[in-house]
Symmetry: C2
């Protein structure tokens, strides 16, 4: 993912601020795991989105840093707890928090991170009314994210999942946080509720498209150095957009075959991936995915166009969308 | 614990409200564990304390119910996660949440409960300024509780713990929530910051005394039907007030003997308890505990007396303190 210049400046500003927030309080065992995961890096998409949202209305983007930090520490809290629930051992190429510090630390330090998110939101220099507005948006979003994670875990236990349920799950689990990041940055800078709603809708649509793109790239990425082999989702039997759309498009008989194939352990990895891809290709699943991504992207930009804001002010928002959706890997 | 009449009326009011908050949203698997733990019962000390604090200033105590609920759902979140960390299987005589619903549910539904606490605080019918004040108090308290839980876990790994560290731990892990409950109820009803601080200090001192009493009763309870046998803390080698005060009072040689005895597995349970109690008795540890409890209780009531509020308005606060500290079991 290439980061446009201005966005990369905002990211640097955020990373500087993040380094200053290093936690040195006692007990050390509570705060070391927090510093560990916060310093693992990452693209900082949510805090940068909040800063971009803020920047549309105001220049003094430093005032958005506590909000940006709240979003990032919250996001990392979800990673810490999700890695426990998903029994995932690696995070950003390093041991996940529960591997590095143990289960109890991942739970308790994660809890503390969630609480610190609220502390940082109320630390924003703004009116009490605005703080309450930001807290309510954040709280609603955080609850949705828990609901999305629960749906994701539920899906693992189910044989069939409707595509509409899958889309709701990725909306709740990931898209709402991008949406809320953009909206809350805008609100902090004085956007009207209506403007905030357009920012939210822009982020939601981009976020959904991004997740579908993620599923597509897992199998169809053309990039060199994608870091992992193609078809990992198939080997994990993940219920992705491609698989669920395939089931939706296939005849009853073909769908039965696909379910059997997808859940089969009878083939060598490469052969299984080939076979599943052949079914997807026959059903044109990839084109459907790209069609939906394009539709979502259009929706997203419609919301930008609906804003009565000088177009030149929206450049970074457009670039953010392009950056998230233009990647080949 | 006998509940005075008025306090029991408040508890009933709260329990009615709690029953109405039963969560019926989707996904079911996120909300069933929350309903489960919230309906396990309990004395509802924190919500009732908030209602008592509110009632000192205002009669329409129904307006304090969302705040009271926030404190109770937060408290139950801590129980759900602590039971995972402490590998505790039973909660209020029933399977702990992670036993009844699994580890992942205890983590995720617990997270959601913490977030819902914030939703309930901002649902209080009051000004934005007051909401922010309540949220900040709650956030500070929640962080302290995480710190206390971390200290408690750290102590299990240590051979020696200073009594002062132990007192700090019980303050953070439990006393601050009683203090914050009383203060936030009072603030919601319009108490001044200074009045709020006295409510807080009252709750903090009572909370500390309550915890020390807990340690004393574990070994010295005279009540019939205490539910568990005396000396459970000794068998678990728990670093209680009695043990740590004993180490502080003993000569270096005696302290060494006590450490050895306390950590020994060479005696039948009853014999070990007898031997430890004999050491405690020789050192007058129980008298020291009662002395400290009396001191804390006096401090607590000094803070009530410092309030410029008609004494008759403070009756339930006094009764709350008496209820918490008068129990023989």
């Amino acid at each position: 993912m290439n980061m446009p210049n201005k966005i990369s400046v905002l990211k640097d500003l955020f990373d500087q601020y993040l380094a200053q927030q290093k936690m040195t309080d006692n007990p050390e065992n509570l705060y070391l795991p927090i510093n560990y995961i916060m310093e693992l890096g990452g693209k900082r998409i949510r805090p940068v989105s909040a800063m971009i949202g803020y920047n549309v209305f105001k220049d003094d983007v430093g005032l958005a840093l506590p909000l940006a930090y709240a979003l990032e520490i919250f996001h990392n809290f979800t990673l810490a707890h999700d890695d426990v629930m998903d029994v995932a051992e690696i995070r950003r190429g390093k041991p996940a928090m529960h591997i590095a510090y143990g289960l109890n630390s991942a739970i308790l330090s994660g809890d503390a991170m969630l609480i610190y998110a609220y502390r940082y939101i109320t630390a924003c220099k703004t009116s009490a009314e605005k703080k309450v507005q930001l807290i309510n948006l954040f709280t609603d979003t955080a609850i949705e994210i828990c609901e999305g994670q629960q749906m994701d875990m539920d899906f693992e236990q189910l044989n069939e999942v409707a595509l509409s349920s899958y889309l709701l799950m990725i909306k709740l689990k990931t898209a709402v946080l991008l949406a809320a990041s953009l909206k809350s940055g805008a609100l902090l800078a004085g956007a009207s509720d209506k403007e905030g709603d357009h920012f939210y809708a822009f982020g939601l649509n981009i976020g959904l498209a991004f997740q579908i793109q993620d599923d597509v790239l897992d199998l169809y990425s053309e990039a060199v150095g994608f870091g992992k082999k193609l078809g990992g989702d198939i080997l994990q039997k993940k219920k992705t957009y491609l698989y669920l759309k395939g089931l939706e498009l296939a005849s009853a008989e073909k769908a039965g075959d696909l379910i059997e194939l997808y859940n089969s352990d009878n083939f060598p990895n490469e052969i299984k991936i080939e076979k599943v891809r052949a079914v997807f290709d026959e059903l044109n699943v990839k084109d459907h995915a790209i069609g939906l991504m394009n539709e979502l992207t259009e929706n997203a930009y419609d919301h930008l166009n609906a804003l009565e804001i000088d177009n030149s002010k929206l450049t970074e928002l457009r670039r953010l969308g392009e950056m998230l959706l233009a990647r080949k890997s």
